[in-house]
Symmetry: C3
């Protein structure tokens, strides 16, 4: 939310506006905005209006090491799931968020050096201390997910990864099917491909724009983003969308997209195939 240049008062207003519309989950990460800065603004809002906390769910993430106040000398980004590191990051997140607990903590990336037994201990400790209620993963392959779940006494409740009509690798590599298999509702980030779908700059993007626009007209929808939201929502794993925007009209269209007529199967497959999926 830092990118949106909100004051603390505006942040409170925005959070309340979301809650009124049924959006109660807010997605953070230690690195968003740089070194807990987004969490800090959100925490200021919670401090100003403490009654908000019990009305919302806070998701945050850690495991990506980038240069920050504690570790200014990092040159290469890497992943870290050591117990000490995760506990430190969660404590910092709780400090910045100015609240006593996180609802869902996600391991932000698969750490190839992870010790799955140590991770299990770390998560159990965070849960028993009341610092984190639920846990999930982000950007893991099916095998990586299964490996960590095998050693974890706690069932992961979600898997957050990228999906949009310009980036369907998580359909192609089986990650979406894996969610279905494990009964997990994925959290989808970058549903609009950073806006590239609306302002195409290549033939591929132009083609997808036209495909979506034709379906928008068929469905009588107001805006292209509704076609995309409906395309994501239609999967049986019940995906939820992570909106990286403060644009209230866009948020309202996302809410609206979860209701009303779904895309037809033919429309849904048309988008998938035009996105490059090989059906045959």
């Amino acid at each position: 939310m830092n990118d949106w240049n909100l004051s603390v008062e505006q942040a409170v207003e925005f959070i309340e506006w979301c809650i009124e519309r049924g959006i109660t989950t807010f997605d953070h990460a230690d690195i968003y905005g740089g070194d807990h800065r987004n969490e800090a603004l959100f925490g200021e809002a919670l401090k100003l209006e403490p009654s908000l906390r019990e009305k919302i769910e806070i998701v945050t993430k850690c495991a990506i090491s980038v240069p920050n106040a504690r570790n200014p000398h990092i040159k290469t980004r890497f992943f870290n799931t050591d117990k000490e590191y995760i506990l430190t990051q969660v404590n910092d997140s709780l400090d910045k968020l100015q609240c006593g607990y996180i609802d869902i903590l996600l391991i932000h990336m698969f750490d190839l050096l992870i010790d799955p037994r140590e991770l299990n201990e770390t998560l159990l400790q965070l849960q028993s201390e009341g610092k984190v209620k639920y846990f999930g993963l982000s950007n893991h392959s099916p095998l990586e997910f299964d490996t960590l779940q095998k050693y974890s006494d706690i069932n992961f409740v979600t898997h957050q990864f990228m999906l949009n009509p310009l980036g369907i690798q998580n359909y192609q590599n089986g990650t979406m099917t894996h969610c279905l298999k494990e009964g997990i509702s994925p959290m989808i980030w970058s549903p609009l491909a950073g806006g590239r779908i609306f302002k195409p700059t290549s033939a591929v993007e132009e083609n997808m724009h036209n495909v979506l626009e034709a379906i928008r007209q068929e469905q009588g929808l107001e805006h292209l983003d509704e076609v995309i939201y409906k395309w994501i929502f239609k999967h049986s794993s019940n995906p939820v969308i992570v909106l990286g925007t403060g644009n209230k009209e866009r948020i309202e269209r996302a809410i609206k997209s979860a209701e009303g007529p779904e895309l037809t199967k033919e429309q849904w497959y048309k988008i998938l195939v035009e996105a490059g999926y090989t059906l045959w």
Copy 2:
């Protein structure tokens, strides 16, 4: 069988000819011949000679939506595993086949929008109604197969997919090994690559033709197709072959290929490597 321009009487004769030679499984799909047309001819034969039914096993498939009488307006082919749709397709197949039950129903392609719990309900209903005895999948990846099996109370009895010396992707992507793991005998379609092996039109096809021809001579076999059938049969999962031909000589050679001397391991690997498999 429509493609072969058989009369109903000729179809009866052909089916009886097959049964006499121990071929008792007949492979159909709702879309073969276009909108149940192949099933309809087969059904006419069963009506003319009802005693055939108990001597054979009928396989049919559904899940691919193409334009047909019920849905003339489809422009993009897509997959559909909704309960209502599958029940309709099976009822139509039973009508056209003019018989009371299907032996094995295959889900023709993996429907990315599938609800595995709904599929389970659908298959249980079809089984309890006596309309279908057994079930299987076709053209699924190992993960897709495992996902549907996990939610299915009924064990799938087969997996039908393509394999031939010009198309070994189901060795490369693990599908053949997955059959071994799950104890499933695959049904192999397109074993002769649509005849391309016999009339090569590229350097790759020419090379495979020569490799197979050399092995045919080493083994003293009559025809190239016997080399291919023996190559497919040699896998420990006990594959069966789906013959898309009414050519009686070819069928007799396929039967003969299941018996007699197998290819040597060296011959078998020679074909695999020349087909592009990376052993090292």
Copy 3:
């Protein structure tokens, strides 16, 4: 060891030298040196100094058929896991090694024609006859490993495959993560990429050389190979390294690398990324 031109006396001396330094596992294969020749030299050493046998563990492998005394006419290399073949190869290995048992027998490659139930019988027989104590696989994919393990009453104790900073495919294809999942310590062959890292002949190799050299200096290590050994050792699956060298200085550095300061996470990931791994 044949390649190193050792006399039997020198081989005894070398084995004793290794044992004194805590290296007690010796890696063989029926085909190393050609037709059991490496095993034969090792066996001569054991005959000359029988007390060595109980101080060491012998690993050997079979399943790759190449032309040899028994089968001189093989033109195409292939894999063979027939019971009769494995029993013959193990008996030949025991003859050449001049000892009563093998500690760990590895199936050298995945035989696409394998009958997993027959393999299970073969391994049980070898174990009950006292000819082999433990079993493992080499160069299998995760699915291939799981398939054979599913049918095996004996738990495989290791998986041997290639890994080095110029060849990270077993990180990319999930094999390293699979070891973590199954709790297996991998045995890593070709850790130094056949020496190519030390004498780069391409821009890719030159770049990796420079990356490793910079880390060597940061860590104050004596030689590049120590950086590589430490990079391999850092994975949580506790990899062990197969040294294909008689160079005593190199062996001593490998031993030293298992102790002392580890690479930092940042250094470890730097090597992985420069090796071509896509983190994002």
